[in-house]
């Protein structure tokens, strides 16, 4: 039988991630109040993606999963990117 050692998360790591998520929430609200114009959406998406990555990597344990899980996660992301990209090609250049 294949031995399965499953990594145990550490309380301290989770607390740090949580505090970072709260800090990023404050930053995104502050950034929205600064009226960055055409960069405001990009800033909001980048901060949200940083938060989502923290949740995925630590809370959802992806960091400690075998490579298969990490590679598999690229599939829905690539699919979404293609769908959104192609749709915007249609909208902008129709």
């Amino acid at each position: 039988m294949e031995e399965q050692i499953v990594h145990l998360g550490r309380t301290k790591t989770y607390m740090t991630v949580w505090l970072s998520l709260l800090a990023l929430t404050t930053i995104t609200i502050t950034a929205a109040g600064m009226h960055l114009g055409r960069f405001s959406t990009l800033t909001a998406i980048l901060i949200a993606s940083t938060k989502a990555s923290l949740v995925l990597w630590y809370f959802m344990h992806l960091k400690y999963e075998r490579r298969l899980f990490k590679l598999m996660f690229l599939i829905p992301i690539a699919t979404l990117t293609v769908i959104i990209g192609l749709t915007f090609f249609d909208i902008w250049y129709r």
Binding site: G9, T11, W18, V55, F59, M60, I75
Partner: protein, 204 residues
Amino acid sequence: MSDKIVQSAHFDYTGSKLGMWLFLFTEILLFGGLFLLYAVYRSLYAQDFHNAAQGLSTALGAINTIILLSSSLTMALSIVALRQGRIKYSIVLQTITILFGLAFLVNKYFEWSGHIHEGIYPNSPELLSRSHGEILFYGLYYVMTGLHGIHVVIGMAVIAVVLSFTARGTVSSESFNKLENAGLYWHLVDIIWIYLFPLFYLIT
């Protein structure tokens, strides 16, 4: 001892997790389709979306963000506690996670009631008198936060079931994959809100 080995030999830990992740991918694509609609309409009706977003309370959205982020923390910690064999502590943390979910929904209830009281709901005369983009904004707002809300309810129900398993000992420090998979679902619901919050509440 020998009992345990026979049982675990029939259990595929990686397969169980793989299945959960595959399901989560379908959820990502489900919400992804809605985010696509949002992106297209926002690019076509930027000014209307900006005006309509003024009607949403950033404070309520921020409070709900903090609630969900904290619930993700208690969820993750409940798995650590379970695996360390601190069953009671894990049960407390799972209960707190469910209560955070409930707090999120109560907040959402007051938020939606406020909009509905102002006459802003799908197909309402007040909303239909507004511009095309604002109608689309509130349509997407109700569908996306509504679908997300349903996911919060399902997540709470799933954690409640795992909680009862934990209390009965079916979920334990040796068999924790059910709690982990419930956690994966709960974190995904959190991630979706991480995107919904800036896209609806923080448009400038």
